[in-house]
């Protein structure tokens, strides 16, 4: 605390004479603690706590009393607020107010792998010690904007880094008294998935790397706290001290919100999540986080769809995003998820109320809207006693407004911050808005006076003629300059004092010829006109909310159905993939997610019957090597990233999932990329389109990890020439080094001694203990052989070599070692190390006794892996039965999921595909793709979805055209990007 005050002195090293015991040499010492009483106001401390003709008494920076008949001290200044409203001023929860942007340090052209600091955490993106006060500089310009928008307090922080230190609550007041400005210190510890700009340290480059890093911080912090690590780490010290205050996590999309919550759950921390605005996409999962949310109001603008050719480039996802964003708040309210609102992300805080009113039009209640700006922020900061409310003891932070804040043409007159008045508009200004008949010089004109946010403007017309006007109206004085547009030099100036609202007034005219005369303005009652305006306004907003689909894009399902009905496939040719071989005219019953029965003349009264005559039923295709459904593929910041897991990076909203289903694929291994020798852990998924990410991941999933060899890991075609290793010789040593360390780690762990929990070492130890399996990206025979020898040295087996295009050269050794091979059917020539790749590779490995799979590694090829399997018949004479196993049973075996999938066998998961022809034929296509007994793709369903897309697109395009006609701003169309992630993605190579 002493530290803090010390810092504050530096910070506010302005004049400090406001402190009461400080001498003052500049005048008489003023009494500052005046008592103010505001009377006759409608006091709104939340819409469930409204008081008409209320009184509010404040003294210094505190509210002293609120009520109908409070006792008013004699020395109080009384302010009559007849007809006006008092609200608590808003609290901005998520701000970087007073913090300057950081410029990234300049680069020497080489990546930086180590940290830049001593005495802090090993990773520069972890900066919990970052205290606001070291960086803060009161920014009056922004403060003014925020006060204008209705804010009294901002919770600001240094918005830089993954763990970025603590926020503080700052009063938006110009006060020189620091105690009035710094309302609360260390209000929350703030996290994000954004890297720090104060460093160039490479790690982490990916979402899974960031999550792994945060986990490691928790582990290290615990170790530091309990075991008194020998080194001094100011970051971890700060982190440990800051565990008992609220923990805020800033996220960029709903997937990140779920990810943040997942990390928190693992360490018993409940984050308050600063959302991104797309949480409506998976509201159930968002609800299940049990987190409270801070939501932005930055709705996307409508797209300019007037050009029909360009409109084709606009995706349904983008259109729906525009459409659904304003409904977010209604959905949060309905699902009873607590939320506050932030103006962060808006172009200017000015837009706050207008955007919020849009949300109210779309179904958010006024009660929740107001609470989200006042009570909820206070609650989230655990400062409800002091801020966000109008109650005795709370800080005197409130707004005086002309009417209900959500009504049109509401004016905020005054924003009181910590007992200090900030006038935004003259509240004693007599309301002169309305229509008048203006007469002077024997002429009559129509005068329209309009008010917006306390500012008036004038419109002067005579018949169809419109005059130029300039109005200056304040302190009861009305000055109007009128120009005849046809003769620019003729100015008439009108002046009048006005004391009565909306009534006749008169004054003097200074004509252009220096003659003066009088004018009269007669007030015209125009209420009827106003009513018309309003009703027409409302009509236009009748657009109804389109249903959210899962995912909320083309081909999304309107619901995630629960228990599927049994399915009975009749009279199909069943390619079992088991010793039964191929069965003609056979029925298969799918029930409770399993293959229930295979036989002849099966019956089921409840089942949906699918006629399989002339068709082929097979197990769903399993792709051993895929990168679809991923937010990110490579953690390229270290040469080992065994701590990261692709389970953290699953993106269930990837259209490739649906398209792969249409190609008969039901399971994939989502692999980490090949940027480093030791990559990340895998996610083994079922392509349950529409389900959230966690539902796609196999339960009791076997543990896998990606390794890689050759050109990519030695950075032949990308990156720097400074990262070890740069040769295949170095690659071997990376493995030996890491496994040796993992072994030592395991020994220490087993010894019962205290040890620092290290997620990377844990994964490597699992490999040594044969609890985690390697799928290794590999090409040439030397490196394949090398890895097997390394594994044998550490007494484990390499489970799978993937790509393995020279596997045929060492197939005998692979068979002996017990490694499988998952390869491309015919790819080659894309880099030097695939020069000897041959399409006969699969056949030779198979003939030598290696378990062979054919994989895609590609969002296009995954759609027709059946054809790729058929190439093994052409290249190398593999029998059709065996070739079919290359994409079903064999990859299932390699992934240790063959107890569940890969063949048609009673008791296995009902993951099956019905084809119109033998699946090895080029003429075959799937008609049904079923996972766990549920139809995820069928030609029929696909047809319906296509219709649905057409319908929704036309509805949304119409809505956008209406929006543009209404004068709303639009944005130019952006075309969606079609780019598949490969092993090499996120590094420069293709």
């Amino acid at each position: 605390m002493r530290n803090l005050i010390y810092l504050l002195f530096f910070l506010f090293n302005l004049s400090l004479f406001a402190q009461e015991y400080f001498p003052d040499n500049e005048g008489v010492k003023q009494q500052t603690d005046i008592t103010y009483v505001f009377t006759n106001a409608t006091i709104v401390d939340g819409y469930d706590n409204m008081m008409r003709s209320g009184q509010l008494m404040i003294k210094a920076d505190k509210i002293v009393a609120v009520g109908k008949n409070i006792s008013i001290p004699k020395d109080a200044v009384i302010i009559d607020l007849e007809g006006k409203y008092i609200y608590p001023s808003f609290v901005e929860l998520f701000s970087d107010f007073g913090i300057k942007d950081f410029k990234r340090p300049s680069s020497n052209g080489q990546p930086q792998y180590g940290p830049s600091r001593d005495g802090y955490y090993w990773n520069d993106h972890i900066r919990p010690e970052q205290n606001l006060t070291n960086y803060f500089d009161f920014d009056e310009k922004t403060a003014k904007q925020l006060r204008k928008a209705g804010y009294g307090l901002v919770n600001t922080h240094v918005d830089d880094g993954i763990i970025r230190g603590t926020s503080s609550l700052i009063a938006l007041s110009e006060s020189e008294d620091i105690t009035k400005t710094l309302v609360a210190e260390q209000t929350a510890q703030v996290f994000s998935f954004d890297r720090s700009n104060q460093t160039r340290q490479s790690y982490p480059t990916s979402i899974m790397g960031k999550m792994a890093l945060i986990r490691q911080v928790y582990n290290d912090a615990e170790w530091y706290q309990t075991e008194n690590a020998k080194n001094k780490d100011l970051s971890l010290e700060a982190f440990n001290q800051q565990q008992d205050i609220p923990q805020f996590f800033h996220t960029d999309d709903y997937l990140d919100a779920l990810r943040a919550d997942k990390v928190g759950d693992e360490f018993g921390v409940q984050y308050t999540i600063i959302g991104s605005g797309d949480e409506y996409k998976r509201i159930n999962e968002v609800k299940q986080t049990n987190a409270q949310f801070i939501l932005p109001l930055n709705f996307p603008k409508a797209y300019d769809v007037e050009n029909p050719y360009l409109t084709q480039y606009l995706s349904l996802s983008d259109m729906k995003e525009w459409h659904h964003a304003p409904y977010l708040f209604k959905r949060f309210e309905k699902y009873q998820i607590p939320f506050a609102i932030t103006a962060n992300g808006l172009k200017s805080p000015d837009k706050l109320l207008s955007h919020l009113k849009t949300a109210i039009e779309k179904g958010l209640s006024k009660e929740k809207a107001l609470a989200a700006l006042t009570q909820k922020p206070a609650e989230f900061l655990k400062l409800s006693d002091q801020v966000g409310h109008l109650k005795p003891g709370a800080y005197a932070n409130f707004l005086i407004t002309s009417k209900d804040i959500f009504e049109d043409n509401m004016t905020i007159y005054q924003n009181w911050v910590m007992g200090q008045k900030h006038e935004l508009a003259d509240m004693n200004l007599v309301d002169i808005s309305g229509e008048y008949q203006l007469s002077f010089n024997n002429q009559t004109y129509d005068l329209k006076l309009k008010q917006s946010k306390g500012k008036y403007s004038a419109e002067l017309t005579k018949d169809t003629l419109k005059f130029g006007t300039k109005l200056n109206y304040k302190d009861h004085w009305f000055y109007l300059t009128v120009t005849d547009k046809s003769s620019e030099n003729e100015f008439n100036r009108l002046a009048a004092r006005i004391d009565q609202p909306q009534s006749d007034f008169q004054g003097k005219v200074f004509l252009n010829n220096e003659v003066t005369s009088n004018f009269v303005a007669k007030y015209q009652d125009s209420k009827e006109n106003k009513k018309d305006d309003k009703s027409s306004d409302k009509k236009e907003d009748k657009d109804e909310m389109l249903p959210v689909t899962y995912p909320n894009m083309s081909y999304g399902f309107s619901e995630i159905s629960s228990e599927p009905k049994p399915i009975l496939v009749k009279n199909a040719t069943v390619i079992t993939g088991e010793s039964d071989g191929t069965l003609e005219n056979t029925d298969v019953l799918l029930k409770d997610g399993k293959i229930n029965k295979i036989g002849q003349n099966l019956k089921s009264s409840r089942a949906k019957i699918i006629d399989g005559s002339g068709k082929f039923l097979t197990a769903g295709i399993v792709d051993e090597h895929s990168h679809i459904a991923a937010t990110s593929v490579n953690e390229a910041g270290h040469n080992s990233s065994a701590e990261v897991t692709m389970e953290d990076a699953v993106n269930p909203d990837d259209i490739s999932i649906y398209r792969s289903l249409a190609g008969g694929v039901t399971s994939i291994q989502l692999l980490h990329g090949s940027a480093n020798p030791i990559g990340g852990r895998s996610a083994i998924l079922k392509l349950k389109w529409g389900q959230p990410a966690d539902e796609m991941i196999y339960d009791n999933s076997p543990k896998f990890i990606k390794f890689a060899l050759g050109e990519n890991v030695k950075q032949s075609n990308w990156g720097s020439r400074t990262r070890f290793p740069q040769t295949r010789m170095g690659v071997e040593q990376v493995f030996i080094d890491y496994f040796s360390r993992a072994k030592a780690y395991g020994e220490k762990k087993n010894s019962g001694e205290a040890y620092r929990k290290d997620a990377e070492m844990e994964a490597l130890l699992e490999i040594i203990n044969s609890e985690r399996f390697i799928s290794c990206h590999s090409y040439v025979q030397s490196e394949i052989n090398m890895l097997m020898k390394v594994a044998e040295q550490f007494d484990f087996r390499v489970n799978t070599f993937t790509h393995i295009l020279e596997g045929y050269k060492v197939a005998d050794k692979m068979a002996k070692h017990g490694a499988g091979g998952s390869t491309f059917s015919d790819w080659w020539a894309y880099k030097y190390e695939v020069n000897d790749a041959i399409p006969f590779n699969a056949a030779i490995m198979h003939n030598e006794g290696v378990t062979v799979a054919i994989n895609s590694d590609d969002g296009e090829m995954i759609r027709r892996l059946n054809q790729e399997a058929a190439k093994s018949v052409k290249y190398g004479n593999i029998s059709p039965e065996e070739a079919w196993k290359f994409v079903t049973l064999n990859p299932a075996r390699l992934l240790h999921i063959d107890d569940r999938v890969g063949s048609i066998k009673e008791g296995k998961d009902a993951d099956v595909v019905l084809w119109n022809a033998h699946p090895l034929s080029v003429y075959a296509k799937p008609e049904y793709t079923i996972i766990e007994g549920k139809i995820y793709f069928s030609l029929e369903k696909d047809k319906e979805l296509r219709q649905h897309i057409k319908k929704e697109r036309s509805q949304l395009i119409n809505m956008m055209l209406r929006a543009k006609n209404k004068g709303l701003k639009t944005q130019p169309i952006k075309k969606e990007n079609k780019e598949f992630l490969h092993c090499d993605s996120e590094i420069e190579l293709h």
Partner: protein, 433 residues
């Protein structure tokens, strides 16, 4: 120095490995294929056929009972004969290994490069080229990439000692990349790289017009000094060359059709045509053929039918458009051997099988202007053909027993089959021939 040595080493290694199968000698005696199912390539199929060719030309195609075999007889009962498949818009032989820059010669710098001639860089001994032949792909249009006008293509056959001998038609067409309405934003490392409206579209069209105006002026006048760039464009105006325009989007296609009319260009071909189905009637009315993008593609847009690229050949051919299939795109050279399976996939999604075959044989020959001597099994045409044990459009059936280019029987071996044999022998596996 080190770098230099390294490049030298790579170059040396590659050349060392590049020895192709020895090209076949000229046809010395008549050859007759008897009892075969003949897929003519023009939509006809003759069962139990006889095909005779002499001096490199086909002299007989008929029912086996209507003609006598001559010379060497190949009994091919139960087998199938096809005209050699033609790969248009290909960079085969212009680059060998994607990731090794020293091996890449397909993309010259500059904007308007009609004078750039692909064929002189065509490596007749490319290991990738030879790997086409066991799948029945026997000819290709070797095409440069990049720029607004990429250069001039030539058509080659895939069994030659050098580029000069490989030529079947030199300098057949000029390739142009039509401006796009959308251009890519951001940097390569941005995760969300969208395409944004190309504000320079009009300007780019204007540049194109200016270039064509100048070219036309050059063509019409004798006063100019020789200018290699405009000289190369002459063929477009006198009808000797075809203009191949690489264009995908609907609006751009319409702009192209207007451009064609404006310059009175006789031979214009659309290459790519991902959205050609939206303007199929207009394309057909303008009598413009389409060399359609790789069938094995993913749809461009999230809302597209999942099978759109698969069914595009049918959608266009149903409208009466002359369609050939091309295979440019990622890893295009090595993937070109899958050309027959692109056609096969189109059949799975509705196209008639005979139509599909035309799209990699006679249609392509017509589009390239070589149908007077190639593209089908018709009397008088080159004997560029192959025998397959089964349906050559299907992976399982595509097994070649013989292949001929201009009558010469070519080797079906390759670097890849040699490695296959070498290592099968190592393990004592039996290889069925």
């Amino acid at each position: 120095m080190m770098k230099y040595l390294f490049s030298l080493l790579i170059t040396f290694t590659i050349f060392n490995l590049c020895a192709q199968q020895t090209p076949a000698p000229e046809q010395s005696q008549p050859i007759s294929i008897v009892g075969v199912t003949a897929h003519i390539g023009n939509g006809e199929v003759v069962e139990n056929a006889i095909i005779v060719f002499e001096n490199g030309k086909i002299t007989q195609v008929s029912d086996v009972n209507k003609a006598q075999p001559k010379g060497k007889v190949i009994q091919a009962e139960g087998k199938h004969v096809y005209p050699g498949f033609i790969a248009p818009n290909s960079t085969l032989g212009l680059a060998e290994i994607d990731a090794v820059r020293a091996t890449r010669d397909e993309d010259e710098i500059g904007t308007f490069l009609p004078h750039i001639r692909s064929v002189i860089a065509y490596n007749a001994e490319s290991k990738i080229v030879e790997s086409m032949r066991p799948n029945g792909v026997l000819m290709g249009q070797i095409t440069p990439r990049g720029g607004r006008i990429s250069g001039t293509s030539s058509i080659v056959q895939f069994d030659a000692w050098n580029w000069e001998d490989a030529i079947v038609k030199a300098d057949d067409g000029i390739h142009m990349n039509w401006p796009r309405s959308f251009s890519r934003s951001g940097n390569w490392y941005d995760t969300d790289r969208r395409y944004e409206i190309n504000k320079n579209y009009t300007k780019q069209l204007d540049e194109l017009h200016t270039f064509f105006d100048k070219s036309k002026a050059y063509y019409q006048s004798d006063d100019f000094n020789r200018n290699t760039v405009y000289e190369a464009m002459k063929g477009l105006f006198n009808g000797e060359k075809t203009l191949f325009v690489h264009v995908d989007a609907e609006k751009e296609v319409l702009d192209l059709l207007a451009f064609k009319a404006e310059y009175n260009l006789e031979n214009v071909v659309i290459v790519g045509g991902a959205e050609a189905h939206r303007v199929a009637n207009e394309i057909n009315a303008a009598n413009v053929p389409v060399l359609l993008q790789r069938v094995h593609s993913t749809p461009n847009f999230e809302g597209d039918d999942y099978d759109l690229p698969y069914k595009l050949p049918k959608l266009l051919s149903d409208k009466g458009i002359l369609v050939g299939l091309e295979s440019s795109g990622q890893m295009e050279r090595m993937n070109t051997r899958n050309l027959p399976f692109y056609a096969g996939t189109a059949v799975a999604y509705g196209l008639d099988k005979k139509e599909a075959l035309k799209m990699i044989t006679l249609n392509t020959a017509k589009i390239l202007g070589i149908d007077d001597f190639a593209g089908s099994l018709e009397i008088g045409k080159d004997a560029t053909l192959f025998i397959s044990e089964g349906d050559a459009l299907d992976m399982q059936g595509n097994r070649l027993t013989h292949a001929f280019i201009q009558g010469g029987e070519i080797s079906l071996e390759s670097h890849q089959t040699e490695l296959y044999k070498r290592y099968s022998n190592k393990y004592n596996h039996k290889i069925d021939e």
